[in-house]
């Protein structure tokens, strides 16, 4: 397959999961994140909050990503998040691989939301088949489903990977842009595949999303304010002691060197008292702790983020069988039915994240 070098855009028909109205733009290579960030930061200045968010109807595609060279990068990633050393790429690493392409979409001039200050609300990833070092991948990314959130607009960045034309990975990252709004305060169904997809991606499968757990957390979908009883942490199964260095370390393996993760100084500039852990690091660590043996070759991994983890910090964690966690629709009793994880500030009730790991 001939890679088209540079920013030349080759138009072709959309495939697979992107809305039919989207057109595909081929990029020759995955763009480097550093440049995208500069572009994103610059662009953020001009992208002022306004009503009537319309997403670019474009799918970015890199047709041939050769993963032969990622072995060392993968080993570093596995070391940081606690995955066992393996030639199989965990879902979190596939997220890292596809993240620049999604970011490229977000830094487009016609992408209406500013990159800076966007909040990662949720992440859902599915691995359909194991991806190994040396596999050649086609990856795609686009934005869809801009919809109302009580504090702004939330949007899904979707990334897909194919090997030999077969889908192997699909990740949906939901971000919040504060202050923006969609027209009429509703979602934009024309740019969104439909409600059945929302059920499996937007919300956590098989369990109720605890909307009101956090005072300032996004209530799902319609932006309902927090109203229910406070969230009650389960009994922990583990404790993570996260050192200050985990921010820069995950920054190095993920490419996400957002200043809020890298140093206290950088975090203060954005209003945090100390550096904060990458949400995706905490989710990736939970995924790692379930482990390849129990999640299987094909699995879904979800995460929903609440209050950030300040570094250094101790986090109480409960990683439980879905059947033990009282998740009503666990497909099976015991480890075969998948896992639910929760993380909160050690010894307190401040919730950091929750999620699931479910064999498919």
């Amino acid at each position: 397959m001939t890679a088209v070098v540079g920013a030349d855009e080759v138009r072709s028909a959309p495939r697979a999961g992107a809305p039919s109205s989207y057109t595909v733009t081929d990029l020759g290579v995955v763009p480097p994140l550093g440049g995208l960030y500069v572009k994103g930061a610059m662009g953020s200045v001009t992208k002022r909050p306004r009503a009537g968010v319309v997403l670019p109807r474009v799918v970015y595609r890199v047709a041939d990503v050769d993963t032969t060279g990622v072995a060392a990068h993968l080993a570093d990633y596995q070391g940081v998040v606690g995955e066992p050393v393996s030639d199989v790429l965990p879902a979190g690493f596939l997220h890292v691989l596809t993240f620049p392409l999604a970011t490229a979409v977000m830094v487009r001039p016609d992408f209406p939301l500013g990159l800076l200050g966007m909040v990662h609300l949720r992440n859902t990833a599915r691995v359909f088949r194991p991806v190994g070092v040396g596999d050649r991948l086609e990856i795609r990314a686009w934005a869809e489903h801009a919809r109302a959130h009580r504090r702004g607009v939330q949007v899904d960045l979707v990334a897909e990977a194919f090997a030999g034309g077969v889908p192997v990975y699909r990740g949906v990252s939901t971000y919040l842009a504060k202050g923006f709004s969609v027209r009429d305060g509703a979602s934009t169904p024309s740019e969104w595949a439909g409600p059945d997809r929302a059920a499996s991606e937007g919300a956590l499968p098989g369990r109720e999303v605890p909307d009101g757990a956090m005072p300032d957390r996004a209530a799902d979908g319609a932006g309902r304010p927090a109203s229910r009883a406070p969230w009650v942490p389960p009994l922990p199964t583990a404790r993570w002691r996260l050192p200050r260095s985990i921010g820069p370390e995950y920054g190095a393996v993920s490419g996400d060197r957002n200043p809020i993760h890298m140093s206290a100084l950088g975090a203060k500039a954005f209003g945090f008292p100390r550096a904060i852990a990458h949400g995706m690091y905490t989710a990736a660590r939970a995924l790692a702790e379930v482990g390849p043996a129990r999640r299987g070759d094909a699995y879904e991994w979800t995460a929903e983020f609440f209050k950030p983890v300040l570094l250094p910090g101790s986090v109480d964690v409960a990683i439980r069988y879905a059947s033990d966690a009282g998740a009503g629709a666990a497909p099976a009793v015991g480890p075969e039915g998948g896992f639910v994880y929760d993380a909160w500030r050690a010894g307190r009730t401040t919730r950091h994240l929750t999620g699931t790991v479910t064999p498919l």
Partner: protein, 445 residues
């Protein structure tokens, strides 16, 4: 059920020896695992006149080991009065090490592979290994493998930039997979089972009272040899009381939340949790013929053993609950119930560990769902429980505890059988890190 056990010859317990257990950082400071295990061996050799004896095997281990101790037990044998030709090997199963060593050697005796053996273990917190961090270790290894001075300097350069890499790593009782200390794990199990502070303190009080009484009665005169000026377990508080125990502040289980959102009371204190301890123990086993040829006492038979593991990582089960699963299987194999047991030697990692195990066996749902039993396994007669004290009072040098308990159990059943003229049985249960449980059945010979 009993027919499923292959017929082999008996392995008998002849006697045991340990050094007094010392609280960490006290009497045995500057004393290594090898020093302590050698001392335990020497006391055993002296007790049974085994100088120059060629034993079938000496097996034991330590949970916390320095890298130089790769052949700890063999080195100890070479430093002892046993025949230097006595083979040995190290074995490790966390706190189950000592009991697992007993299982290993008795199996060989039963199979006729060896005639005699010593099993035991040793652990020291006071001389624990301290390792360098992974990053420094990698740099040092890389420098070590480097071919030129330049490469060596290159490998070490990053160390200069990261003075924090020089910080040593000390071992702790944290579970590698969860980062929770054993105490925190037990606190979660304690909360799940609703075990009260009072019940735990009562277990601790009885442990001290029973151990103290046993010492005063001379029970340990032929089970312990003093070491480095210590002639009794120095954690033992013969004068402790419910009031004193009640005054201690909880150390584990703070910050847990109940289903109703209210904070759960922290109930585990330094008084009802086992302190970190240094010590070593050794037990002499043999075939009956071997013992009788030497006119050595035969205290008991080491009948059988069963181990179990639980998935504590995902909170489905408590870290220290594996013995609850192992014991019903062990007893079923011999057609026995809890009523058939004269002595329960349940290792007191924490008072709550004993109580959650007992509670689990009394719980119908738990026994049905988790243990696959038709109903509740049964109730343990508290008057038969740890009658001469256990780890809360004696202390718990991880790998040494199995040997302590086996020797105690053997002596107890021997005395009981001599007194009643009927066979007596002891059940040994040891929980271990990693969600492991090691249990054994000992019967008067």
């Amino acid at each position: 059920m009993a027919s499923s056990i292959p017929t082999t010859r008996e392995a008998v317990i002849i006697g045991g020896n340990r050094i007094p257990f010392a609280r960490a950082g006290k009497k045995y400071v500057r004393t290594s695992n090898q020093d302590m295990f050698t001392a335990a061996l020497e006391g055993l050799v002296a007790r049974f006149g085994l100088q120059g004896e060629l034993l079938g095997e000496v097996v034991g281990g330590a949970v916390l080991k320095n890298s130089r101790d790769f052949n700890l037990i063999r080195e100890s044998v070479l430093g002892s009065s046993l025949a230097p030709a006595t083979p040995a090997y190290d074995l490790q199963q966390a706190c189950g090490t000592g009991l697992e060593a007993a299982i290993a050697v008795t199996n060989k005796i039963k199979l006729g592979q060896i005639e005699s053996a010593v099993a035991g273990g040793t652990d020291t917190i006071s001389d624990a290994p301290i390792a360098v961090g992974d990053k420094l270790r990698r740099a040092l290894l890389q420098a070590n493998h480097a071919r030129s001075t330049g490469d060596r300097i290159k490998a070490l350069l990053p160390v200069l930039g990261h003075p924090k890499w020089l910080a040593p790593e000390t071992p702790d009782t944290g579970e590698p997979r969860t980062g929770l200390s054993m105490g925190e794990h037990q606190a979660i199990t304690t909360a799940k089972w609703g075990i009260t502070r009072e019940a735990q303190d009562e277990i601790a009080l009885r442990s001290h009272q029973n151990l103290y009484r046993a010492w005063e009665e001379g029970f340990f005169d032929d089970l312990v040899t003093p070491f480095r000026g210590l002639s009794r377990d120095d954690n033992l508080r013969g004068d402790t009381s419910a009031e004193k125990l009640a005054k201690l502040k909880p150390v584990f289980g703070r910050g847990l939340t109940g289903d109703d959102g209210a904070p759960l009371p922290a109930t585990m204190t330094a008084g009802n949790s086992t302190p970190l301890t240094d010590g070593a123990s050794a037990v002499l086993f043999g075939s009956r013929d071997w013992a009788e040829e030497r006119n050595l006492p035969v205290l008991a038979k080491f009948v059988d053993a069963e181990t179990a593991g639980v998935d504590f990582v995902h909170g489905h089960e408590g870290l220290l609950m594996a013995p609850a699963a192992a014991v019903p299987r062990l007893l079923a194999r011999h057609g026995l119930t809890l009523e058939d047991i004269d002595f329960f030697e349940i290792h007191e990692a924490f008072a709550a560990t004993v109580l959650t195990t007992l509670a689990a066996w009394e719980d119908e749902d738990y026994c049905r769902d988790e243990l696959g039993l038709p109903g509740a396994f049964g109730k343990v007669d508290r008057s038969r429980l740890n009658v001469n004290g256990s780890s809360l009072a004696a202390g718990h040098p991880f790998a040494a505890t199995g040997g302590r308990i086996v020797a105690t159990a053997a002596k107890l059943v021997h005395a009981k059988a001599a007194e009643t003229g009927k066979p007596a049985r002891a059940l040994i249960s040891v929980c271990a890190a990693g969600g492991l449980g090691v249990t054994a059945l000992v019967e008067s010979a």
